[in-house]
């Protein structure tokens, strides 16, 4: 017996597919097309787009998502990965790179969490150099290995970007230089900061949009938690940093000698050559003044001054507030000379 007329069968088959397409793609597409870009979202620059193409080429999407979920949905909010993302944050994304895997962490706000170009370059050259235990692949073809015939500053002078790869992770006697591709990819990664506020009504997926800040309301900021969230990727869990790339905090005079120098560094950052325990460093410490509250800065510096064998006095939010006020007009990172001069005056 015929179970149904053939025409009806074909119509049914076509209708089930077509209606689902309209319902799941076309209708939401029309709804979403009315949404304006989030007000502070900037279109990608040419360099960032070139970097984005490399992100696609190397298949970063298979391990990294670019979507933050609302409170109560995983720990995105508790880990301070940023407010829940909304359709307006993605209007310049073609192709979309939302991703469905977090073998590595979400990157929607990676620039807010890890703004150090040095760190990203080393991490791309060999992830394990800065992130022990990582299973991310290395991308050495984004770098050039050149003979270290003379000091690496010669390369720097010629405009080449020398990557401070720590000892043991680069071939002996070689200097690692970032290609344009590596710089483009890092430029793209450093554009991934969607922590700007958005209007409440734009939030598509339920829940509120907490700002990019810690759980102060729960009373008392945990300095160790701030350290794990922000500082650990460069200065490491043991406070030893990465020799030659990121300075140690354990036993560092810059942290322990007086109270104001570390506050100044955390608020405005530090750029220039310094020497700690016989090792020289010439990188950029990013500023955190715009991203952390006085309470968080006080807590994290206190944590650092009392860990890994350090035992110096604590820092109060008032002390941080005072430095913040005194240096309110500053827009650039400190140089080592400036800080040494200021700390000399204090004595």
């Amino acid at each position: 017996m015929m179970f149904i007329r053939i025409t009806t069968f074909f119509l049914g088959v076509l209708a089930t597919l077509f209606i689902a397409w309209v319902g799941l793609v076309v209708v939401p597409g029309i709804q979403i097309s009315e949404i304006k870009p989030s007000p502070e979202l900037k279109p990608y620059t040419e360099q960032q787009l070139r970097g984005r193409a490399i992100y696609i080429r190397e298949g970063c999407i298979y391990c990294h998502s670019q979507q933050t979920r609302p409170a109560g949905f995983g720990a995105d909010q508790l880990r301070n990965w940023g407010r829940p993302s909304v359709p307006g944050d993605y209007v310049y994304d073609k192709p979309h790179l939302l991703g469905t895997s977090r073998t590595g962490p979400d990157l929607f706000n990676i620039a807010a969490r890890q703004p150090s170009e040095d760190w990203h370059l080393i991490h791309l050259y060999n992830p394990r150099a800065v992130s022990p235990g990582s299973i991310m692949p290395p991308f050495p073809w984004l770098f050039k290995e050149e003979d270290a015939v003379s000091s690496k500053y010669i390369y720097a002078a010629s405009g080449e970007r020398v990557v401070p790869v720590p000892k043991g992770f680069a071939p002996e006697g070689k200097v690692i230089i970032a290609t344009q591709g590596a710089l483009d990819l890092v430029a793209y990664l450093l554009s991934l900061d969607h922590t700007y506020p958005i209007e409440e009504k734009n939030i598509g997926t339920a829940g509120v949009a907490p700002k990019f800040e810690s759980k102060e309301s729960e009373g008392g900021v945990n300095g160790g938690e701030v350290y794990t969230r922000i500082c650990v990727s460069c200065h490491q869990t043991n406070g030893q940093g990465i020799p030659g790339a990121f300075p140690p905090l354990a036993g560092s005079d810059w942290l322990l000698k007086d109270t104001e120098t570390p506050i100044r560094i955390v608020i405005h950052g530090l750029q220039g050559a310094i020497e700690i325990k016989g090792m020289s460093y010439n990188g950029v410490m990013p500023e955190w003044g715009s991203k952390l509250s006085d309470e968080e800065i006080a807590a994290v510096i206190t944590h650092e001054r009392r860990s890994w064998g350090n035992s110096a006095g604590g820092i109060t939010p008032e002390m941080v507030g005072k430095v913040r006020k005194e240096t309110a007009n500053r827009t650039t990172p400190w140089t080592p000379e400036e800080l040494q001069k200021l700390s000399g005056q204090n004595k």
């Binding site: 017996m1 015929m2 179970f3 069968f9 088959v13 076509l14 089930t16 597919l17 689902a20 799941l24 793609v25 939401p28 709804q31 979403i32 097309s33 696609i56 080429r57 190397e58 298949g59 999407i61 298979y62 391990c63 979507q67 979920r69 949905f73 995983g74 720990a75 880990r79 829940p84 993302s85 909304v86 359709p87 993605y90 209007v91 310049y92 994304d93 073609k94 192709p95 979309h96 790179l97 939302l98 469905t100 895997s101 977090r102 073998t103 962490p105 060999n126 394990r128 992130s131 235990g133 299973i135 991310m136 692949p137 290395p138 991308f139 050495p140 598509g204 997926t205 794990t228 650990v232």
Partner: protein, 477 residues
């Protein structure tokens, strides 16, 4: 509606089979043989990608072999190479058999096989070179996708023309799935590639396609084969005709709406995600009906699993269909998705579907179909046993390790007191177990490929038609 029914009544049953088998043998062998090559390629890519999680610096200086290129190369090789080509062969053969006629427009099938292979080869090379489009399941560049779309249309035309020329009044349930699928797939593939999606709308289109590729292409082929081979081999009608009717239409209605459950918690309108969650849960209806139908048909006949490799593979696949579907419905629930989303659990689920269900059934189908095309019996039954137990054990180890590893990964990830790196560390032993399972599966595939080559070349010791098959050449009801 159907033509030439008188002819059907007059002709002896067997002559139809001989005619239809002869008419399809060339194209079907072409589909199967190229599918088997892609199976090997895809397995090697898959194992390489897995090993890269265990030894991240291994082959680390070759851009073409970085994880982010090998993984999509694996996916596309097994999806568009192995599974699609194998099911194309299986669907073609089943259509001719179930319509009791010769295949029509066989040249189109040859053209389809050739273009399809060129498309996949071009696409895989493009991915390895770094020319991926960056959309999961749609990584191939437009040119490769165009070739595959043309090939799919050729296949559909030949199948539909054969269906039009059918010499049966009754349409067996397998045919519903096959005909629906050859209508659905080219349309889905084309509208998923329309150029006007961007931002989160593109994400919706992307995941609607990726999940619907299962809805309209892989699952119907697997179910059509299971509906055919289980009753065929055990020589007993399917348990309930009405259940299969309900199963088919509820499948068509609900399964098409599932895709957006891949974006639960994501930046899309809440109603949209809820619709997909509801549809995913409603999938219990078609799955239960199919499960009852397949499994109740088997009841009392499990002894036959010992004699028929086809039955062993197909019943394993049918059971895994039930398992993977229940798993999928549960995975779509927000409370569970919170844990499983973004983890290796999803990868385990995908392999339970595309390997333990679809691939196992395709193996079973190939074991049944090949002797009828080459007029040659499978040599070395012991190797068939090896093949079955290697891949059955391998995929079980795979799914179990990814399931446990994925859940632990999700729990660690959702615990803000743990550093993110803990969620990586905890998966490492399970990722190693996954690589071990990959090696076992690869060995299984090498055995299968050896056997398959002997079949195509008609080599190996000649064997008589197995006695158990004599009495079982009965058409499905």
């Amino acid at each position: 509606m159907s033509r030439n029914t008188s002819h059907t009544d007059e002709s002896p049953e067997l002559s139809f089979r001989v005619l239809s088998d002869i008419s399809v043998s060339g194209p079907v062998i072409a589909f199967f043989a190229s599918a088997v090559v892609w199976l090997l390629v895809g397995t090697v890519f898959g194992l390489t990608a897995s090993l890269k999680f265990n030894f991240p610096d291994w082959l680390g200086s070759y851009p073409a072999l970085t994880f982010g290129r090998v993984r999509p190369a694996h996916l596309n090789a097994v999806i568009y190479g192995w599974a699609s080509l194998a099911l194309a062969g299986c669907n073609t053969w089943l259509t001719a058999r179930l319509c009791r006629t010769e295949i029509r427009w066989p040249k189109l099938l040859y053209i389809s096989a050739v273009i399809w292979n060129i498309g996949v080869l071009y696409g895989i090379i493009a991915i390895l070179k770094g020319d991926s489009r960056g959309l999961e399941w749609l990584e191939f560049p437009k040119k490769a996708e165009f070739l595959i779309a043309v090939a799919a249309v050729c296949l559909s035309l030949s199948v539909l023309r054969t269906f039009h020329a059918r010499r049966v009044k009754h349409l067996y349930v397998s045919l519903w799935y096959i005909i629906a699928s050859v209508v659905w797939f080219p349309i889905l593939y084309v509208i998923a590639n329309l150029p006007f999606y961007s931002g989160v709308t593109q994400a919706a289109a992307n995941w609607w396609f990726a999940h619907n590729a299962l809805t309209v292409w892989f699952t119907p082929a697997g179910l059509a084969a299971a509906y055919y081979f289980i009753p065929k081999v055990i020589g007993r009608p399917i348990h309930s005709y009405y259940l299969s009717l309900l199963g088919f239409w509820s499948f068509a209605l609900f399964y098409n709406w599932n895709g957006i459950h891949h974006l639960i918690g994501g930046p899309l309108p809440t109603w949209l995600i809820s619709v997909s969650v509801v549809a995913s849960v409603l999938m219990f209806i078609p799955v239960l009906t199919v499960a009852i139908n397949h499994h109740l048909t088997m009841v009392g006949h499990f002894g036959k699993l010992r004699y028929s490799p086809t039955l062993r593979f197909v019943v394993f696949g049918a059971m895994c269909y039930t398992a993977v579907s229940f798993q999928g419905s549960i995975e779509a629930l927000r409370s569970f998705n919170k844990i499983s989303h973004f983890t290796h659990y999803t990868i385990g689920h995908a392999h339970l579907g595309l390997y333990a269900f679809v691939t196992m059934i395709l193996f079973g189908a190939i074991y049944y179909i090949m002797p009828r095309l080459t007029k040659w019996e499978w040599p070395y039954p012991i190797l068939i046993k090896f093949h079955f137990w290697l891949v059955a054990f391998g995929i079980t180890l795979y799914v179990v390790s990814m399931t446990i590893g994925g859940i632990l990964q999700g729990l660690y990830m959702n615990n803000p007191a743990r550093p993110f790196m803990d969620s990586v560390e905890v998966t490492k032993p399970y990722l190693l177990a996954r690589s071990v399972s990959g090696v076992i599966i690869l060995i299984g595939h090498l055995v299968f490929i050896y056997l398959f080559s002997l079949m195509v070349l008609r080599r190996g010791p000649a064997r008589a038609t197995p006695p158990w098959r004599e009495g079982m050449e009965v058409a499905p009801p």
